[in-house]
Amino acid sequence: MPNDSPNNSMLTFSPLLTTKRVRDHFQTPPNPFKDTPKDLNISNNNHNQNTGNTLLLPNSYIHQSSPQNSKLVNLIISESIPDSNSTIIHDNESNTTKQEINSNSNNIRTNMTADVTGLPDMSNIHENSTTSNNINPITNNNGNNNNNNNNNNNNNNNNNNNNLNNNNNSNTNNNNNNTSHNNLESSTIVDANQPLTQADKLRLWRHDALLQHHYKTAVYIGDKILSLTNDPNDAFWLAQVHYAANNYQLARNLLTGPKFEASVGCRYLAGLCLYKLDKMDEALDIIGEVNPFKKDHSIRNPDGGIKLEASMCYLRGLVYTKQNNFDKAKYCFKEAVLVDAKCFEAFDELISNHLLTPDEEWDLLENINFDDADNNNELVKLLYTTHINKYKKLNLYEDAKQRLIDEFDLGDNIDILLSQAELLFVKCKFQDCLDLCAKIIDRDELNISALSNYLSCLYELGGKNKLFLMAHKLAENYPNHYITWVAIGIYYFSIKQITEARVFFSKASMMNPNFASAWIGFAHTFAADGEHEQAVSAYATASRLFPGTHLPNLFLGMQYLQMNNFTLAWEYLSYSYSICPTDPLLLNEIGVLNYHKNELQRAEVYLRQALISSKSLEYGSKAWCSIHCNLAHVYRRMNMFEKAVNHFNEVLKIAKNDVNIYSTLGLINLKQGKIANAIEYLHTALSIQPNDAMATDLLDKALDLNARIANKKFLDEAMKSTAINNFKRGHSKVTEVLKSSMSKRKISGNLSNNLSDELMDIESD
């Protein structure tokens, strides 16, 4: 094999080149000799090695480097789908390695989270410990080898790639040979720089195994290293391996003992394990109930990594969330973000779980210190700005979006698209939102917020068939994900099979109690069945879980409104109003409430406000129509018929035919004394729904009036018109007829007289 030559091996498997190689291979498959000699070699190599290789990735995969994507991959991996996804794993590796080399940074940071695909070389722990104000006592001189390690690391990577490639080959023999060979080579190269101890080599092995998810190997070797060295660092790394292999208890056990207590990194990992094991109180014991490192967030990590302190805060927040202690959780997440702006996890928790009110979100954004992100601070700030709610300060959002597109060329990035989609959703532009979300989902199948927007839009637009397809696709690909069950629930809800829908929503909310859509959908099923009490309790739960969104409170208000409990309705609606004073739906509800309370003036004010804020709404959407209708009803009650009619006409211009509108128009016309028009409208109403009680009632009334009043008028006019218009023809004829008949009568009278005379005569005779 050509790659057997020691000189080439490193070049060959440099990740950067790997990607290039694949690209070349794709673009001009038959022309491998066009490139530089180095490349030539590579492509040759590739050619030999990859006959029928599954590693040939589409270019798009390789170029995607969004964090979202790698997150996705992580997720996939952590969901342990070991065999089929090798291509994606490869992609991810090449991604991370590529980034690493590009940035030329020494540190491949481990977040020490479940990020198994990161590259936890040994230097990290030292780095971390030193940077977090030297809390970690367990340093050893390995810390000095940072640079070398990095070298190793590259090398490692190369090997990894190599291994990976080969693993996917069917020929396992070859695989083994190759691996050992390359390892050997890499070690010889490293040897040239610096000699490695036996333990170091084992450590490399362990990492190698960890990276390739050979957890058994990693545990096996890690255990041996630990026994050999008895070094806490090795214990820590063994714990990492256990964690990655989902053996949380083992990891936790490894990390007990006073020497670990002092290390922040170890405590964090231990806390994480306990969190995973659902031992919240213990976790809190380990990481502390409040942040122990008060103040002084100004010290920056010299390496620019995420501060462990922030991670701790984040973990604390997670624990509190699990314990349903949302205030504290909110505080912790906020703290995490404030400690380190780079702790996106915490920021995301805050935003996507609606833990903050819109104002609080903006406050938070203003207080975050973006300096942590170094020269990326502007970028990160803009990104965060686009991430938060779209209720307020839209101009700032637009600015940020525009700058991201113009200056950073991120117009095509999924998160930017997603933020646009969210904005469209808030504006109720469902069709546009749907298109955009479809685009996002095309690229990222499991983007939760895109999916939930997509599903809601489909529901709004009545795309049952697509909902069905989507639900099936999700159920096939991600049967254990809560979004799948939400999708199925929405589908059943849209075909009005409420009971089934409820089952699926509740299942989804069990799987992830923090997912707002599931809870609200669950509550909606009760509302749709008219079971107000249960709906109220479900909405109340939702509102407790997600204080940052006004929707649960709005729905609560609506429920109480339906139950005619105006005081409670008002309470919830006004609370909702305090969160989001611009939502047209909410304003509409408040208007309706006031209408029911007979405070027409106030109702008018609110509905007008709703109309103004719905200006941004799409022309003719459902919400828009109902606002106009309600306003018209208010005007009708205020006896301002002209205005009422105008608003109704506005709706009729666009909306589907609605019995109520026509009946009400009939009523208005009746009140105005336009009986004929009223009858016309009522007929239209009845032609839409033949058994509408109100319309029938009104029609009877109108027809009665018609008989009593309009008919007289009608006849009078008719008589008049005969008198005037038909004077020549009609009237004269009448008189003529009358005259002639009169004359005839005279004649007949004469006749009868004669007759009677005759008769008399006869009789007298």
Binding site: S687, L703, A707, N711, A718, V737, M742, R745, E763
Partner: protein, 667 residues
Amino acid sequence: MDFEQLSSVRKDFLESNLLLTERHLINSAKWSSEALNGMIQLTREQQYAEFQMMKRSNNFKSSNAPNSLSSPLLSSASFEPSATASYAIGSTGFESTSTNANSSTHNFTATNKILGSTTTGQGSTNSLNFLPSAFTGGSLTGELEAQQDYNNLSGVKNENEEFNQFIERDVISLADSYFNCKEYNRCSDVLKNCKSYRALFLRLYSLFLSGEKKRTLENGTVLGQNDRNYQNPNLTTIIKELEEYKTSNNISSLNDPFLLYLQGIIFLKSKKMSHAQEMFYQSLSLYPINWSCWKELIVSLSTFSEALRMINRIRKNTKFTDRKEYYLMFLFFKITVYQEFYQISNEVLSNLNDLCEIFPNFSFLKTQKALISYNELDYATAENIFDDILKSDPMRLDEMDIYSNILYVMENRSKLSYLAHYAHEVDPLRPETCCIIANYHSIKFDHQKAIMYYKRALSLSQDCLSAWTLMGHEFVELKNSNAAIESYRRAVDTNNKDFRAWYGLGQAYEVLDMHLYSLYYYQRACSLKPMDKRMWQAIGNCCEKLEDYEDSIKSYKKALSVSIDSDPAILCKLGHLYSHIDDAKNAKLYMKICLDQELNGEITDETTKARLWLAQHEMLNSNWQLAYNYAVDLTQGTSQEIEEARAIAREARMKLNTSTSSKKAFL
């Protein structure tokens, strides 16, 4: 291939599409345009270069042969297989293709015929003096003016729109092909990103048609369970698109006649009559030779006064008086309106005659004439005219259902039977044919079959106006009031000017003893045909049932005033009514008038009743002699009446005898 070669291939395919469409080989044409659209895309610069090339050659061509602009129909007919010519058609043949598109579904044939006759008839009729002066200026320039006028107003002239149309011509040709193959959804989908007026119209129009198709499909059988539950689902979308188009182009109202027409149709479908009228009016003032639009305008007019207002409005628009094609169309409109509202004046008749001079062979005008005679109850003339039409255009089935109605009323069974068989032979699946056959069955008292055929007619075309009413009549015959009401209702929904349907509704409700309802429907019928005594009688009857005798008397009086010869029935009724409100004087008066009718006509039930009443009345007033006289002469009528009369006579005689005897005794 380089640019030159590619563009020549492009031309070949575009040409073939046009040629094949011309020959109505639509599937082939579809293939060509699909191939054309599947070719390598041109860059914007290349497109612009082609556009310039086309314009240059087009200018050259139009300066050489101005005729090519004069009539769009002619220009597309004189197709030359050269590339330049095909481009010329691509951009200027707007009307021609869109009219073609329309005619395939809507009743556009009339327009084409008018157009055809205009161009052929103009040469000989230059001297006609009733037309505006511009008309005498020569036919070609007039046509040219119209074209330019349309172009200016619709903004087609502006460079941008022209360029848009040019670069979209491939897509539009594809869409045209889809449209011809009735793939409406595909047609609208393919035009999704186009910007020109033409593309927008085609897209929305095909959306509309696809919605209609869906609607008929979903509604199922006529008068079935799902009937009417389903509306055209695309109306809202189209309205929205049009609104968006307006806002995006920053205009307060649309300025393309066809888009206006489309919006009008949609308003009409959703029963917003005044909006619809406005749209149609605007569309017509931009482009008048669009008969469908005039027709829809007539549909949107619900009362005659409204119609008069519209006529006045059009008349006030100088365009319609100064320009000959506008004026002609206006005349067509006016005649049809008067005809449909059963109003005829001498002015209209003279207009009709004027038009007949220009279009002596135009069946449409002949039909109008026949209809006018029919409405005037002059059945024989109408029949003659229809015979004539059938002779000159034997395969024509349009409006033949009206002919069958006339034959039905005349009870000309043999001819009706012949017509039914003939129509069946020509085309059994035309709604007109079905109506004729239904009439045929109806005259044979086979009402079930008649209903079946009406239903068939209606499932073939929902707009079959008279079928609903006639079906209602059939249901009445079968004593199925509810079904009758439903079909009458549908009839007035599709055409609220049909007094028969309104009257039928009234009758049906009367059967159900719902007089409040029937009163209203009689009113409607009455306002449509105020000179018909039956309407007033019906109202009077209703009022009587509602125990409102004053009103009843009023309406009967009105009925009397509009009838040509005094009807004994009305007189008798009036007498009874007066007697009901104890106005003996008037009662007697009318009864006597009623009785007098015997003198100039035969004895009827009413006169008998009047006689009986008079006899009774005189008895009450102790005028024995008079009572005796009345009673004795009662020779016809029901046995009961005769019996009663005899009793009165006997009693009167007795009284008379006693009185005479007492008189004698007194003497």
